[in-house]
Symmetry: C2
Subunit: 358 residues, 2 copies
């Protein structure tokens, strides 16, 4: 399609410059990652909340389905807990838990930092591509991965972050625009307490101007028009998350998928209520209740741990009002009844058509 | 360049599908509007804060420089004042005013609603294109304008707003993404208290899918890559504001222009502190001071009126710390030392080059 996207495809060993986002917590499991890679894109296992053992099992499942390259996505955030304000937050969460009959359990909360076992699993399983969110791989891990010729994709939300990713040794950078669903990947939450929220349209060309390595556009890319536009803005490829949420191989909860069908471009908000870090999702009762309280969430990852049982109970009850419904701002462009392969082929066809029309 | 952009150009009687945003309060005066129209784009007089008489004079100046079509931009917001919380807001504004030696004068504040005299001037002066922000032309004014074959461009921030604009009789809609500088054009502030902030990349294709009339992409469009990308996303043209702020014909204050050179994609914030409506501008001391107070601004336009003397004094003192420095999220793409014509010719050349490279 173009020199830049060819470079990205060669770098990653893929056919199409389309990456499936590593949506953590269920949507991007082994089935979705395998289907995307098998169809010629880059599938990604959303492994941020998985144990090392779970990653090993998922990687085996992916390899049973395809021998093409795939990525595993990890969080590199500081996982130190701070529950010093739990009593204040508990005042808000306890009535919410009670309202859905959930056992919230605010005693002895602790977040398990699984990064080291995750990284070890990824290295030992010879995962070819490692993608990261919330920061960069620690220097020694980056060196180890690069020594073994793994490719590293870092997600960034500002040009400054992208430059630091390139300097750290990353092979490509995902430009995560504010249109994107899910957690803002902003590195330094002290510097950008609400996340750095620069629109995809603005972020991509500014990153492309600043970097020598390929830039992958993310946030609001839903179809081939988005791929064509991203290439025009200087990107080498695109990353899609939301579009894959409703496909046959998606691991997203059915109640979450159902909410997508009822939502549009104005349905999402940025909120820290679920995890302590800003993330874009469909507005629901949990977000409204927490934010109306005026109590600030705990910092990440402690808020995430504190809300875990409520989210789990809501999922078991098929109750989307209290689940995190991460989604981007392109929801009117959602399609249903597709496989991952359908999505890839349509996106490529539409992009070719868009480009050919000029 | 393409059928869709040709339709827009024919509709407006322009050569290039590039519109200069109607930046109110100085930047988009008669000199800029005339230069843009003369060079083949659509120049726009930012007339929202101008009297009918001032509009008449500016229109004459434009016509002395070019016989090509141009637009006059008006606000259609409800201009009813609400100063019921002025005592609370005064507690925040008075020390700020004092700190720069400004006479703030909080007694007898009143916003003059100039819409009727503005509209009358625009009609009587035979202004060919009327563009609006914050809502739609009232029904009787829309009918009068359409009867006289004026073209109407409405700015919208959601698909729902865009559909209502099309139904009202608008000839084209500006899709104002959240990347854009200046006021969010959101129609109903009760429905979207922070403004509807959908990224340009996401908003444009969803509006294009929903409308039969042309969509003009706005927000983060800074160069020809942006024009090419907008066309890929389904737009018929683009609107640029920020890029024109530093050109030779810009009416932007020199201290404001200087601040642009020191800013980047992460320098802007959305704030209601200046006017009572959310707007994107470069973060400065006024915004920080007002927001740190925790006092909510008055509603628009009363907050704008209440901060007027501070902004005026700051401008007279060349002090950008207390001026509104509206700007979009593409600031690393700013160029300096250009004329408006340079910008238009470069944007068109770059867009052709981008499209030709595929």
């Amino acid at each position: 399609m173009m020199q830049k996207s060819s470079v990205l495809c060669s770098l990653l060993g893929i056919q199409f410059p389309v990456i499936q986002a590593g949506m953590a917590g269920g949507p991007a499991g082994s089935e979705l990652a395998a289907a995307v890679s098998k169809a010629g894109g880059l599938g990604t296992l959303g492994a941020a909340y998985m144990s090392g053992e779970a990653i090993r099992e998922a990687v085996k499942l992916i390899r049973e389905k395809t021998d093409r390259p795939f990525a595993v996505n990890l969080f590199t955030a500081d996982m130190k807990d701070d529950f010093s304000r739990i009593h204040e937050v508990k005042e808000v969460l306890a009535p919410i838990a009670e309202s859905i009959g959930a056992e919230a359990g605010f005693e002895g909360l602790k977040t398990k930092d699984m990064f080291l076992e995750q990284f070890q699993a990824v290295m030992e399983e010879n995962v070819p591509i490692i993608s990261t969110a919330f920061g960069l791989l620690p220097e020694e891990h980056m060196a180890e991965a690069k020594n073994q010729n793994r490719k590293i994709i870092a997600m960034a939300t500002t040009v400054e972050e992208a430059i630091s990713a390139e300097r750290s040794g990353a092979d490509a950078v995902v430009a995560q625009g504010s249109d994107a669903g899910g957690h803002r990947g902003t590195f330094d939450m002290n510097k950008h307490p609400q996340g750095a929220n620069i629109g995809t349209f603005s972020l991509v060309p500014q990153m492309a101007d600043a970097l020598a390595i390929p830039v992958i556009a993310a946030g609001g890319v839903m179809d081939g028009r988005g791929l064509a536009a991203s290439l025009m803005l200087g990107a080498s490829g695109v990353q899609l998350g939301t579009r894959f949420l409703a496909c046959a191989e998606s691991g997203a909860h059915p109640a979450y998928q159902e909410m997508l069908t009822q939502s549009n471009e104005a349905s999402t908000v940025l909120t820290s209520a679920f995890s302590g870090r800003p993330a874009r999702g469909i507005s629901n009762q949990f977000i409204s209740s927490f934010e109306l309280s005026g109590v600030p969430p705990l910092p990440f990852p402690s808020q995430n741990t504190a809300t875990g049982k409520i989210r789990k109970a809501a999922a078991e009850q098929n109750n989307p009002a209290f689940m995190s419904l991460w989604a981007g701002q392109g929801l009117r462009m959602m399609k249903y009844g597709e496989t991952a392969e359908d999505i890839l082929l349509k996106v490529m066809k539409e992009a070719e058509d868009s480009l050919a029309s000029f």
